[in-house]
Structure formats: structure tokens, C-alpha cells
Symmetry: C2
Subunit: 728 residues, 2 copies
């Protein structure tokens, strides 16, 4: 017994020691991730994703140029070790390794590194996939502090000496935080989870399956046996799924199995599926693997109006479905990354997920590589939204590194835009440029469209800011000057005093007298108008039924934003209930690409000349998330990354509302009724601004009185502020 | 018997009919080949090839940026059929097909095309390999008449209508003439054939194998059995193969087999192989699979001097070994495509293989894609050789289409060069630019090197010519102006009357008084010098032993060319015998990267600080092919593609010589002794020019007397001209 005890004690010591070692190892060891050239994985993965589109089983790729990753990459890191260590190496591609300039022979899986200062370099070639590495030492780990280049230009002379003047341009490595060394980045896919059908209507050799709401993933036939064909006809509406000849998505497969399940290869968007199968086939049950992005829903919204709550929920679900490897336009089609669509997703994202990686991944995928041979997605306005997206990204996240790393690609993109200006300094659609603006019947795209100039102007202002962040002061000044010059010109050329508005375009150097909403509404929230012009635009354009109406959620986003920016929250709430509520009344479980309340019946599903061409789950349908967060709860950053912010609640006609707004560090929580406002925040310094008929009271902070019954107080992190007031 | 006969007769009829059908099919059917975006296959395959380099089993990739193919490609062809036909389709990549704008569902292997006018389009996505198609109908076949684009920019509006203004830039498809639909371009490799060793020296667990001469391919161990390690140590010299610790190429493999042969994966350059294997292993025999480019040796040369004949043969073998998928520098290392090295291969090729595809493939591989971020191979002079190579290619082949298709990439490459001029309009090495010139001890690369300006000037002249061919008359004028301005400046800044030569460089705006051979010799065959200056350069530079000597065959190429261009064939012949003959005397079976007659012993193999660093089979070693063809047989085109040409035989000190010079259409055959010249040609109109002490006689053509005992006559195709003369 005594002996055994001793042994046990020894074991215990050993185990404790091991535990200590493991623990201290875990505590001290850095977190390694797969790294690559920044932007390359985005280009590669977006190629893969965007080429998944099919129409009834036929491949349907994008019509713009797709770029590629750099096939040969040089990774390096200068570091110092206090103690020697072994580092494990994992590489996607053919590679070599050198330590302190000396190549290590062969393809070692572990290298020993002595204590001291070192430089480790890996060169990796991979034509098919992105060259990537994963290095796991105790202290030396692959992460975004590594430097990468696609051309090191390090030649040697006849004596074997390396050139002593390096012109290598390094960037910091890109990463998606893939932390498992044995799961290669090229095998990445979104997670899936099984979901059951809500109802299955069975007939001989046929099933009609309803999953209860719009969804996305892989159809699974459970307990299928026999030999023969199985055909799937998908529908976002029952009409579509039953119209086997004309539904947009269909798959067919040859089955030959005794028993078991069969999961289809291709992911599809649907609520309904019609399944037809041959005589010899039997199927027990139908389910699906729901595929989704693992982003976390951080934002929330609840209010006194249940229809608005429902709108917010369906909008959140719509955005989640369209948030995939990147922000896409719609899950049925195109499943492509469209800059104008993504721009709205970025903004909604700041009020729902605050998932910065999906924003930067999408921005990088959209930009691709030099040379620029076309506008982004071929669309002029979509190039400008790309710049605007970067501007917002910096405002919301404060991520200066992204701007600095990305700045050269911003510059070459802007060079492309500036090189296409006409003699008046305006842009107009050249051959091959798609001037999109919006889906609207009869909308002119000819000549110098004011809307495009407004977007270019804002893009130039963005460039001026980003040039400063990238320490390019010369160009910062240049961009600001061009922007100022352009802005002055826009108002001198397009503003029509009789119309009290910017006109739509100039053709052959002459302004038309056509007034549309686009340039006018953007001018409001870009703050390009003085107060008098703002009121003019509100009256003569936004609230004027004679100006052609907008029939896409896409442009309603901006129209309602402009109205909110002018304090028209009550009017906008009614619009929101009419428009998004209108879709809900038609049975929508996600919001649509286009909705025209004037249409009814089967007509509501048609678009692009096809009976089910319209996407019933389109990211740009989800804008209430943004409007409710930014203009009702009233939260927005006033300095980059929410270091400072404002909370300006506006109930519209609601009795109360409450919600949470995500920020880079924690959340901002707001409750507002007509009597009380409660605010708390995890970080930053905020200003709560509100109107009150009577003098408000707050025990936790000093309220400062401003003009016109406007009051302000400062929000410090961690405080729970309660303000008693009398809403106006 | 009768019955049998009848049957036989029937069979005969059927066979004859089949034969007729096959024949008429063959006669009428067009030849299909795999097609792709021009230049893309070259970029892709050169990536693959250049990343095959290893040093003792460790991967050693290039240090410049590697580009990629376009991953999404649109192929189309407008055509008309008199009768309906079925066309077979083969595709590398995910794809769709449309006929007359209508997508054909699924992935058909054959499509039926009615009679009439049509447009067929295929869109192909392939990230890993080059998107490629093979279409085989009776009349409709994939070939270089198809149009391709990487961005069709063909969007549709909300009604489904395609944009009516296309900005698509089409190029004609690229092809390597791969005619087998089931052999995919991505699987292409050079042919191999088995070769036996010349001697095998066997010792226990060791073999020392000699293949008799420099060679390239895969080592094959015949009848190997047992379990254990086999190590190969390669050598271009016996010294290298026996120095197992320091030889440049080595491979190791684990064997575990009962019997059979084992062929190594990696292709290597060698003459000798040391093989070491474990106790448990036994090997019957060692052989190799010789890998080669299937180019045809069309040029020939024989003369009264056997050493010169040997030099020509070894040069031809050297060039053949280095003519692979592309023209490479050397077969041991780097196996990369280097522009300056390839430039000489192009010129030699015109006198040996006249294989135009290998030239255009190499030019396209070198250029890669936009944006230009570096000189070609990082070397400034190598960028200029790329332009010069295009100039020569057009002169020798007359292939205008290549110039026109390639012109945009020439333009952006030249934009890069021009953007890097200093305030005096000269180029100097900027950070990251390698100013190579030559391997020569102590050669200055600082400041504005005259040699680089001379090459830039010639490149600009090339651009001016190519701009004309591409119908870009504005830039044709611009390039010619810059060239003229630069040329005048070169001579005003670098020509030193005291030195009777161009000086090597200007540093800080001041010419040095250092004279080197480079700029001077190029000025001669570029015809940049007046007669007085030519004679100056000959006397004070080329034939002046105080000017540092050239020790690479690379620059000896140009030095001897300059002397030949001035009629110094006798002197050059002696030099050739000394220099290339010197390598033969050291046992060379192929010509070297560098040869310094002053070195001896093991020293001759060293370079780059490594004992066997030097390549003993280097393309630039093969220049006698070019010199003997162009300056002895004296054949060169005087208008593009040999439509007109000159034959100006110069025996040097030879008694007689004869040879055949390949042209785009057939050959030009020349025989010359001191008494008679015989010439015949398959195409074009030539001028035979020669000197004679006495009045020459030719029965077939009129001889015209020129100044200074120079005579000329015209060579018509198909004629066998015989001229009796009295050589001077």
C-alpha cells in the first residue's frame, strides 16, 4: 500500500507538472492562423462563390473580369526568441523555407529555431489555390504581423551575393482567422445544420415540400432507395416551385442505391421544392442542410408596433441569408458580389452583426486587382459605392490598417475614374460602362447624370481622407481640390431654381429639366445642401408625387434615409409599414428585390422578362434595420470606431422603442418612450441629444440646454443613464 | 468459293466507300485545336515550368512576380453553314454554351447546328488551369479565328434586354495546335525517348554512370528490387557527380518493390550520375528517358574546317537542349525564361529550327500581364531585349498578327520604361532594377549607363514600327520622335573624341572616361555609327586589348557580331575556334554559361560562389549557329518574312562552306568556295552579293557590277544559281 501510494503520488506530480506545462503553454503560446497575401483569398474565394450560379442546372458566370491570386508568394517575419523553440509548418503549395537567409533543405514539418534574433522566410507557389502558410511555434506563429510580397526582386550576382538595395514592397499578411492547421483554407465552406420541412404533400412519385420560410442550403432525401431519376424544382413562391417548366432553379440526379440518404451537391435558395421521381424510387422523408454564415446577431430592436417588429425581424433574416462568404445581392440569383448591393449590406451590418471581416472581405473581393479595365461590376455608380463603403467602414470601425493596406488599390481605381472625365470634369457612361442608378422604367442614363457626379464627388472626399491616413498628403490635397471644384460645378450646372431641385442630367452640355429623386436625396444625407435647398428638395422632390416614384427597396433605402435625416421619422415609419408591411401582407418571409404595390397576382414574381426572375430574398430589401438603428434609436459614430458617438432617439409615431447597437467594443443600449430615455454604453464617449417640451431630469449626468428645446448630455462608458423628459 | 468472293467483293465496296467517306471527311473537315486566351497558356505553363527548379531537392522559385491566366473566358465565333451539322464539344473548365444568344441547357457533348448564319459562344471558368475549348464539327472547328475576351460586359436590364452597346475587346484565340480532344492542354508535357548509358562503373551499393554527353531527362533504374533508399548525385562534370556533398542536383527516394523499373519524377540535367543505394537494394541497369522539344532541325552547316563543324554541331545540340516548352537559360539551372538569354535563342533559332511558336510562346511568357510592376526578370536590359526580340521576330517571320495582338502589352511595357526616365530623358537603375549588362568583374552599373540608353533607343524604334502595324499612327510618330531625340542625345553625351568611343556611363550628369565594349558594339550592328566612328570603335574598342575582355559567350555573341558586321569574318573565325574550340578542348559536349580561357582545373566549374554553380549547357553558348548562318553563309531577310532577302557569303578563312537556312516557306541553300557560289531558294526574291577579283560568270542570271569589285544578282525561287568567281 505504501509503495502504491508513492507511485500514485509520483504520477500525480507528473500529471500536475504536465498540466502546468500544458497550461503555461496554452497561456503563453500565441494564436496561429493561416495567412496569405491580403486580398488574395478574397479574390480566389469570390471567384469560387460567384461561379456557383446556375440557372436550371446551367452554369451562369459573371460578365466582368475575374482576377486571380498571386501564384508565388514570399512570407517573412523578423522576430526574437528568448529561448530556443520548435515551430511546426503547414503550407498550401510547393514551398521552401529559409532561416536567416539560409535555405533549409527539403520540406521539414518542424524547424528548430535557436534563441536570438531571426528572420524566417517561406516562398510558396500555388497555381490552383491561394499560397498560404500556418506556422505554430511557442512564440513564433503565423499571423497578420507577418510581411508578404509577390515579388521580392532579390537577385544574386555572379559571386552569389544578394542585391543590397531592396525595392520589395511588403504588405501585412491577410488572414480569416482560420486556426486549424490541418484544415486547408482552400477547403473552407460555410457551416450547415439540418432543418426539417414544415409540410410535405405526397402524391405518387411526387412530393411538394414547404420549409415554412425562405431558406438556403442543400436538399437531403432521407431513406431514398431504388434506381432512377429524381428532379427538384425550387420555388421562392409556391407558383414557382409548381411551374416545373419555368422555375429558375432545378436539379436532376440519377440515383442508384439500396438505401440511405442522398444530399444534393448544389446549394439553392427556396421555400418550396417540388420533387418528381421515377417509379423505381422511394423516398422516406425530405429535409435540408441549412447553410449559413456564422456571424453573430448583436443588434436588436423592439417597439410598440408589432408590424414594425416583424419588419425588423424579417429584415434581419433577409440580411443574414444574404450574408455569406461575402455580402451578396440575393440568394436565388445572382449570388454575386455587387458593389451597390453590398454597400447597403455594410450599413445594415453595422446595426445588426457589426461583422467587420465580412465588410473588408467584400470590399477586397469587389476591387480585385490592377489593372482596372472596367468599373466595378461594370457599373459606374457601383465603383463610387465602393469608395463610399470604405469611408463608412472607417467611420464605424476606426480600422486604419485596412485603409493603409488598401490605399494603393483605391488610388488606381480613382485614377481610372478621373481618367474618364469629360472636358467639363464630369463623368458620363462611356461605351461599356453600365450607368445603373436603379431599376426604373424609362429612367434616362444618357449624358452627364447628376447622380453620378454626386457619387464621384463623395468618392473624391473619401480619397482625400484616406490619402491622409496613408500619409499621402500631396494626393490628399489634390483629391480635396478636385472634389471641391466638382461640387461647386454640380450646383452651378444642375440646380434649377424653378424646379427647386437638381435636374437629372446634362445632355450635350445642356441641363435637362427632368427632375428625379436620386441626386437630390443623396445631396441631403451627404450634407451638400444649405437649409433652404434642403427644404426645397423635401417639398418639391421627396414629398412630390409628380416626381417618378421609386419601386425598389434599393433606392427606397436612400429616399427614406434622406427623409429621416430631415426629421421625418413619422412619415417614414408610415412608408415603412406600407412598403415592407405590404410585402409581408403578400406572404413575404424575406424582403424582395423589387416591390411595386401597384402589382398583384403572379405579376409580383416577374422580372427580367421571366415569370420568376425576381429575387424574393434580396439584401437591399433589409434596410429597415439600418433606418431603425440609425434614425429611430438614433445611434451613429461621430469619430472613427465609435470613440465618440451620438444617440438622438426619434420615436416617429411609436410609443416606445428599445434596442442595442453593436460597436467595435461592446454595445450601446437605448430605450426611449415619450416620457423616458435610458442609455448605456460599453465604450466611447457619447452625446445623448433629444427634444423635450419641459426641462428634462437626469440623476447621473448634467443636461445642457441647447436651442429650440434641444438638450444634450454626455454618455460615459458603463453608466446607466435615465432621463425623464416630455417628448415633442 | 463464289459466295465467298461475293462477300469479299461486298466488303471491298464497303471498305472503299468507307475509305472514300473518311477521305472526303478528312479532305473537307477543318482541323480543330484546343484554344484559349492568347498568352494565357504561356503564362500558365511558364509558371509550371519555372517552378520546377530545385537545388538538391529544395524548391527554388523565381524572384519576380508571376502572373496568372484569366480564370473566366468567353469564346465566340460567327459562322455560316450550308448544311446542318453536329459539333462535338470538349472543355477544360466549368462552362456554358449558347447558340445565337440562347443558352443550351446543361453540358451537352454534341450540339446540333442548323444550316445558316450563327454565333456560338462558350463561357468557361477554370481557376487551376487555363480555360480552354475544343470544338469539332465538320466545318465549325475551334481554331485561332475564334474571338475571345475575359470581360464581355454584357449585362441585361430589368426587362431582360442585353445592352446594345458593346465595349468588349476581343482578341483572336491562342493555340499551340493541340489537336487531340481527349488530351487536355493542362496535361501537356514534352515527349521523351529512352536512352542507354555509355558506361556504368559498378561498386558495391554504388554506380557511376556516364551518358556520354550532356543530356536531360529522367533517370530510370531498371530491374530494381528491395527496400531502402536510393540517392542520385548528378553532374555535368565527373567532378560534380562525385562530389556528393556539393553537386547542384541530387535526389533521394525510398524504394520498396519486389521487381520492376523505377523512373524518377523530376527531370534533371546531367552527363554523369552517382548512384548510392542501401544494402537491401539491387539494380540491374540504369538508363534514362531523354526529354526534348520536338522542334525540327532545319538549318545546316558544313565547311572545310572540322573544328568549326564540331562547334556548329555542339552549338546546335546546346540550343536544342535549352529549347524546351520555352527558350530557357540553362538546363541545370535556372530552367527559367530569361529575356536576355531567350533573345539570343530567338536569333539562333532562325538559323536552326525556325520554330516560330517557341519564339512567340517565350515572348508571351516573358511579358506576362499588366500591370507592369518591374522590368522583365527585374532586369532593365532584359525588358529592352524583349522589344528587340519582337522586332527580329517580325523581320524573320512577317507575322503581323502577332504584333497586332501583342501591341497593347508592348505599349504598357513601354509606358513603364518611359515613366522611369530621369530629367535628361535617360534611364538609370532605380531601386529594385537590376542593371545586368553581363557577368563581368568590376563592371559599373551606376548612373546612366550608355548601353541601356542604346537598347532603349532601339526599343523605341521597334515600338514605332509596331505601332504602325497596329494602326496606331499617333504613337508611331511619338515613339519615333522620342527615339530620334534620345539617339542624338546619346551621341552628344557619351561620345568621347579622345577615346574614339562611347563611354560607359554618366554619373551625376557627368560622363565618365571609362570605355567598355557594350554600347560600342551594339551601335555597330544597330547601324547607329557613321563610317568614321565605326572604324574608330573597331580599332579603339573591339580590337583593343586594353578594353576589359568579355568572358561570357553571352556578350561574345554581340562582340563577334559587331566584328562580322564590319567584315572581320577571318578574325572572328579565329576567335570562334579559340573560344568555343577552347571549351571543346576541355571536354565540353555542350557550351557553357561562362568560359574564361585563363581559368583551369576545378576552377572552370565554379560560379556564384559555388564549386559547380556554373551551367555547362547554356543557350547563350550556342551563338556560332547564328554567326555562321548570318555572317558566313550570309543570309538574312531584308523585308519581313523573307519576302526579300540577301545572301552575302563570306568564307572568312574557310576553303568552302555550305548550308541551309530555314525561312517561313522553305529553305535557302548556299554553297561557297573560293571559286564558286551556288544558291537556291524555295521562296522569296533574294539578292546574292559577293566580291570577286575577276568578272564572275553565271548562266542562270544577270550579274550586275557594283562598286569595288562587288557584284550582285537576283535569286528567283526554284532557280539553282551557279556563279563562277574569284574570291577576294
Amino acid at each position: 500500500m505504501k509503495k502504491d501510494q508513492t507511485v500514485n503520488l509520483k504520477y500525480a506530480v507528473v500529471i500536475a507538472l504536465l498540466g502546468f506545462m500544458l497550461f503555461s503553454g496554452t497561456a503563453k503560446a500565441q494564436k496561429a492562423s493561416w495567412i496569405w497575401y491580403p486580398g488574395d483569398y478574397e479574390v480566389w474565394l469570390s471567384n469560387k462563390m460567384q461561379n456557383r450560379r446556375t440557372e436550371r442546372g446551367t452554369f451562369l458566370p459573371p460578365f466582368w473580369k475575374l482576377d486571380s491570386h498571386y501564384v508565388l508568394m514570399n512570407f517573412h517575419k523578423d522576430f526574437e526568441l528568448a529561448e530556443p523553440e520548435d515551430a511546426k509548418l503547414y503550407v498550401e503549395g510547393q514551398h521552401n523555407i529559409s532561416l536567416d537567409g539560409t535555405t533549409i533543405r527539403g520540406y521539414p514539418k518542424t524547424i528548430h529555431i535557436p534563441a536570438g534574433k531571426h528572420r524566417i522566410s517561406l516562398k510558396v507557389y500555388n497555381q490552383a489555390n491561394v499560397p498560404a502558410i500556418f506556422v505554430q511555434g511557442r512564440h513564433l506563429v503565423s499571423d497578420t504581423s507577418w510581411l508578404v510580397t509577390c515579388e521580392d526582386k532579390e537577385w544574386i550576382d555572379a559571386s552569389g551575393k544578394t542585391s543590397d538595395v531592396s525595392a520589395t514592397k511588403y504588405l501585412m499578411a491577410g488572414s480569416w482567422g482560420f486556426n486549424d492547421p490541418v484544415v486547408l483554407p482552400s477547403t473552407y465552406h460555410l457551416p450547415v445544420e439540418p432543418k426539417k420541412a414544415v409540410s410535405i404533400d405526397e402524391k405518387p412519385h411526387h412530393m411538394f415540400v414547404d420549409f415554412g420560410k425562405e431558406t438556403f442550403g442543400y436538399i437531403k432525401l432521407n431513406g431514398i432507395k431504388g434506381k432512377g431519376k429524381v428532379s427538384l424544382y425550387f420555388g421562392e413562391s409556391p407558383n414557382e416551385a409548381t411551374d416545373t417548366a419555368r422555375c429558375e432553379l432545378a436539379d436532376k440526379v440519377d440515383i442508384d442505391q439500396r438505401s440511405g440518404d442522398y444530399t444534393f451537391n448544389g446549394s439553392r435558395a427556396f421555400r418550396y421544392v417540388s420533387i418528381y421521381y421515377d417509379d423505381n424510387i422511394s423516398i422516406n422523408d425530405v429535409s435540408m442542410l441549412y447553410e449559413y454564415s456564422p456571424v453573430k446577431q448583436r443588434g436588436s430592436f423592439r417597439c410598440s408596433d408589432e408590424e414594425v417588429n416583424k419588419i425588423w425581424d424579417v429584415a434581419a433574416y433577409t440580411l443574414h441569408l444574404n450574408t455569406r462568404e461575402f455580402f451578396i445581392d440575393g440568394i436565388k440569383r445572382d449570388r454575386w458580389v455587387w458593389s451597390g448591393d453590398a454597400y447597403q449590406s455594410y450599413l445594415m451590418n453595422y446595426y445588426l452583426f457589426f461583422d467587420s471581416p465580412t465588410v473588408t472581405h467584400t470590399l477586397l473581393a469587389l476591387r480585385g486587382k490592377d489593372p482596372v479595365t472596367s468599373h466595378i461590376n461594370t457599373i459606374m455608380d457601383y465603383t463610387f459605392y465602393w469608395f463610399l463603403g470604405i469611408n463608412d467602414y472607417y467611420q464605424y470601425t476606426g480600422d486604419k490598417t485596412f485603409i493603409q493596406q488598401n490605399y494603393p488599390r483605391m488610388q488606381s481605381m480613382m485614377d481610372f475614374c478621373l481618367s474618364r472625365r469629360d472636358k467639363d470634369g464630369f463623368v458620363q457612361g462611356q461605351t461599356g460602362d453600365w450607368v445603373f442608378i436603379d431599376w426604373a422604367d424609362g429612367l434616362s442614363k444618357q449624358g452627364e447624370v447628376s447622380f453620378e457626379q454626386i457619387l464621384l464627388c463623395r468618392s473624391l472626399e473619401t480619397m482625400a481622407e484616406c490619402a491622409k491616413l496613408a500619409h499621402d498628403s500631396t494626393r490628399a490635397v489634390k483629391y480635396a481640390q478636385i472634389a471641391a471644384y466638382l461640387k461647386a460645378k454640380i450646383f452651378s450646372y444642375y440646380w434649377n431654381d424653378q424646379k427647386h431641385a437638381l435636374v437629372h442630367s446634362r445632355i450635350d452640355g445642356k441641363p435637362t429639366d427632368n427632375v428625379t429623386r436620386y441626386a437630390n436625396m443623396f445631396s441631403i444625407f451627404f450634407n451638400y445642401l444649405d437649409e433652404a435647398k434642403k427644404q426645397d428638395v423635401k417639398k418639391y422632390v421627396l414629398l412630390n408625387n409628380d416626381v417618378p416614384k421609386i419601386t425598389t427597396p434599393y433606392m427606397r433605402f436612400y429616399e427614406l434615409e434622406a427623409l429621416c435625416a430631415m426629421g421625418e421619422q413619422s412619415y417614414v415609419l408610415k412608408q415603412m409599414k406600407d412598403y415592407w408591411g405590404g410585402m409581408l401582407k403578400l406572404g413575404a418571409t424575406s424582403f424582395w428585390e423589387e416591390y411595386n404595390p401597384a402589382k398583384s397576382g403572379a405579376d409580383v414574381y416577374a422580372m427580367y422578362g421571366r415569370p420568376y426572375g425576381k429575387s424574393l430574398c434580396h439584401a437591399w430589401g433589409a434596410s429597415p434595420i439600418y433606418l431603425l438603428g440609425k434614425y429611430y434609436l438614433g445611434v451613429k459614430p461621430t469619430s472613427p470606431g465609435y470613440k465618440e458617438y451620438i444617440v438622438e432617439p426619434n420615436l416617429g409615431s411609436l410609443q416606445w422603442m428599445q434596442g442595442s447597437i453593436p460597436t467595435p467594443n461592446g454595445d450601446i443600449r437605448v430605450y426611449a418612450s415619450t416620457k423616458v430615455i435610458k442609455v448605456s454604453a460599453d465604450d466611447g464617449v457619447g452625446t445623448l441629444r433629444f427634444k423635450s417640451k419641459t426641462k428634462p431630469v437626469c440623476k447621473q449626468a448634467n443636461i445642457v440646454s441647447k436651442d429650440d428645446n434641444v438638450y444634450e448630455l454626455q454618455i460615459q462608458k458603463g453608466q446607466n443613464l435615465v432621463v425623464d423628459y416630455n417628448a415633442m
